[in-house]
């Protein structure tokens, strides 16, 4: 049976396409995009999407799916459900599981579990170092052969600069980027929030911006020196952005991402000591936030990624120092971007979709991210107008840790299609 999405505003950054049109899906692929087709074949299910946006399915370049080993926080099935509820058709899974994804068998395991879930496409990221210990390289080549789309020790920085250098060199022929969590662990120390006026007032230990900036500088220098591609995860500081600008100017092969929460919130929200605002890197100042917004607009920051980090509620319901870092973000990323960035005019719809779908697909060489005829039919349909409250009981993710709970947001996804199959409709996972 074919599927026709009729009358939506079709946006595809890959082709520079933005028009009202019908999208015909046959089998697992897009077979036509036409205007006013009036197509009515008996074997076609027609869905009226008038007033809605039809775009390539979102791709999250940074999520923690917690399986194997930490299934009490999340597993690949619950994360896949959260992903398609959030409009994501593809998710890159960070390797900081237990055991970590640091070999070919583990990479295959993640693929298998993703296929078994049968919802969003799950793309494993392999660990850079064996056991994520930061001491010696993992079997990166085998893991790449098994399909690891990128390499990262995320959750922690790669402290040893020589290991980072060797990893970058080794990755060059494999053509996979290295994703670094940019943070000097000595400088971040025991910090739990941004170091500044608010951390002073709250009496909490701070993480200075310099902890990120020092690591960004090192990463850019090593990327330039080795010629290898590096992707800077979840940037948070103004200084990182200006170094990124210089590096791109010089032609250093670097890309970068930012999360919705770093674009929307500042350290001011920590005044409630709500552990759901505890993230790493920390929420910083308004000045930093403005710099991130501007960099995103200019395309200097290529990607909006969730850094989806689900935790069990008992883990977050403790004092601020004990609480783990992270936000369960897959289900709120799109409405946050629409509400806070698209509606106020910081980003056009085209730009938002580029940064949440087309760019991650291109940077990591993933299927999807475009609406070309013949491409995989990975699609999202977004209702720009419906306003809905963020409620933890609506989350498909096991992690209910989210600082936007109680807020009313617009721009929710109403349909997610993976490989031609409707996997989410009106918020229900099918």
């Amino acid at each position: 049976m074919a599927l026709l999405l009729r009358g939506g505003r079709v946006i595809d950054p890959a082709q520079g396409l933005d028009m009202v049109a019908d999208v015909l899906v046959e089998g697992s692929r897009i077979s036509a995009i036409t205007t006013g087709s009036g197509m009515s074949r008996p074997d076609v299910e027609v869905v009226d999407v008038t007033g809605k946006i039809v775009g390539p399915g979102l791709i999250d370049a940074h999520a923690h799916l917690r399986e194997p080993g930490l299934e009490y926080k999340e597993d690949i099935l619950s994360a896949s459900r959260a992903a398609v509820k959030g409009g994501y058709t593809g998710v890159m899974a960070m390797p900081d599981t237990d055991p970590p994804v640091d070999n070919a068998a583990m990479v295959q395991f993640i693929y298998t579990r993703g296929r078994q879930a049968g919802l969003a496409r799950v793309f494993p990221v392999g660990a850079v170092t064996a056991g994520r210990k930061g001491e010696k390289l993992a079997e990166i080549g085998y893991a790449a052969q098994a399909g690891a789309v990128a390499f990262s020790d995320d959750g922690q920085p790669i402290a040893n600069s020589e290991i980072l250098r060797r990893a970058l060199e080794y990755l060059r022929p494999l053509k996979r980027p290295l994703i670094d969590h940019c943070q000097d662990a000595n400088l971040s120390g025991r910090g739990v929030m941004h170091e500044g006026l608010v951390s002073f007032e709250l009496g909490l230990e701070g993480i200075p911006s310099a902890a990120e900036e020092v690591a960004v500088a090192r990463d850019l220098i090593l990327s330039a020196y080795t010629g290898a591609r590096i992707h800077l995860a979840h940037l948070s500081a103004k200084g990182s952005v200006s170094m990124l600008a210089q590096a791109k100017e010089k032609g250093i092969p670097v890309t970068a991402e930012v999360t919705p929460h770093h674009l929307i919130l500042t350290h001011e929200v920590l005044r409630t000591y709500d552990t759901n605002t505890k993230v790493n890197p920390p929420l910083r100042t308004e000045e930093d936030r403005q710099a991130l917004l501007q960099a995103l607009r200019q395309g200097l920051i290529d990607i909006i990624a969730t850094d989806h980090a689900p935790h069990a509620s008992h883990e977050k319901r403790v004092d601020f120092n004990q609480a783990p870092f992270g936000i369960s973000g897959l289900e709120t990323a799109l409405p946050l971007v629409v509400t806070y960035l698209v509606k106020p005019g910081y980003l056009s719809w085209m730009e938002a979709i580029a940064r949440m779908s087309t760019n991650p697909a291109q940077i990591f060489g993933l299927p999807g991210g475009n609406l070309r005829v013949g491409s995989l039919a990975d699609l999202v349909v977004i209702d720009p107008e419906t306003v809905k409250e963020v409620r933890p009981e609506d989350f498909a993710s096991k992690g209910k840790n989210n600082p936007f709970i109680g807020q009313k947001l617009s721009g929710w996804p109403v349909m997610t299609i993976v490989g031609g199959r409707i996997v989410m409709r009106d918020g229900e996972v099918i």
Binding site: L197, F200, E201, L204, Y273, N321
Partner: protein, 312 residues
């Protein structure tokens, strides 16, 4: 009048609220001067102290304050190990609440805990120190002591010397004194001065001679022993030589200044015995006034003045 459910920190208090507590404390201090130190003001009410960090002095001060006003007290020991076990603080709070306690006095090593708890209990919560965040009753007793000695707080200059970064006493005093119209300086090595503290209207001095010059009140802070190992300063000898409150230093720079210290003191490190026993020091009065201030707070929190047998 006093309308707060909880006493969590002075940052969001008004000048009027602080003044009310100080005025009420003056009446309470009269009781402390009597032979029979007991009034029925809080008869039938109960106060629990829940300390996750040892502090005999602060705890005793709160418990005596409650007892002098005829409240029942219960003291709960919470060890660091129960924190390590991840035992929920909220569960403990709800247990205490279920026992019918009216006020819980909480000391906890992590900033913000009293705030987090106050939202989840009907009991009045008094913050007796939460990490490096606030220690409001200490700042109130400091201001009370100064008002008693110098007649006012308004218009004075306070110099706080030492590890400002890790001090809840410093924070509560900064907020309180500024509200009361005083100037606050912080003095210490840059490693112990919080980043951006100047944005809170505080003047920063790295040089103790400059920092003490012209200060009406000098407050020494306790230097935690592990700070040396964490690299905040090279050695105790060097710290004392650059930032110690010595007799010579006080005499040559600011002979008339009133000296405060929240205790307990590392004698000879941040302050010398000679200074502590000099006429400038008000350290023992601080202890007495601590009881009076805590009596005032418990009295105000529990709706004091409404036909409860204590007439002020």
């Amino acid at each position: 009048m006093f309308r707060r459910k909880d006493v969590l920190g002075l940052r969001d208090w008004s000048k009027e609220e602080i003044a009310l507590v100080l005025d009420t404390a003056a009446a309470m201090k009269d009781i402390l001067g009597r032979d029979l130190k007991k009034v029925p003001a809080l008869r039938g009410r109960s106060v629990a102290t829940l300390f996750y960090e040892p502090s005999t002095r602060t705890r005793a001060s709160f418990e005596l304050a409650a007892k002098y006003m005829s409240a029942d007290t219960v003291s709960l020991n919470a060890s660091a190990s129960s924190i390590a076990k991840g035992e929920s603080l909220l569960d403990t709070i709800w247990t205490i609440e279920a026992m019918g306690v009216d006020v819980v006095v909480l000391r906890h090593p992590v900033p913000g805990t009293s705030l987090q708890i106050a939202e989840h209990t009907r009991m009045h919560v008094v913050n007796a120190g939460d990490g490096a965040h606030e220690h409001p009753t200490q700042a109130l007793l400091d201001m009370y002591t100064v008002r008693e000695r110098l007649g006012r707080v308004e218009g004075l200059t306070l110099a706080i010397v030492g590890d400002i970064s890790h001090s809840r006493v410093a924070r509560s005093n900064i907020w309180g004194w500024q509200k009361m119209g005083a100037k606050v300086r912080v003095v210490g090595p840059p490693t112990m001065i919080p980043v951006d503290i100047d944005k809170a209207g505080v003047q920063v001095y790295w040089d103790i001679e400059e920092g003490l010059r012209g200060a009406d009140v000098i407050m020494g802070l306790r230097i935690q022993l592990e700070r040396e190992a964490r690299g905040f300063f090279p050695s105790f000898a060097e710290y004392t030589s650059f930032y110690g409150l010595t007799r010579e230093r006080i005499r040559s720079i600011n002979p008339g200044a009133l000296i405060l210290h929240p205790g307990p003191v590392n004698r000879g490190v941040e302050i010398t015995d000679e200074v502590l026993s000099s006429a400038n020091a008000a350290v023992n009065e601080q202890v007495t006034n601590g009881v009076a201030v805590r009596m005032a707070l418990l009295y105000l929190l529990l709706g004091g003045g409404q036909g409860d047998g204590f007439a002020s």
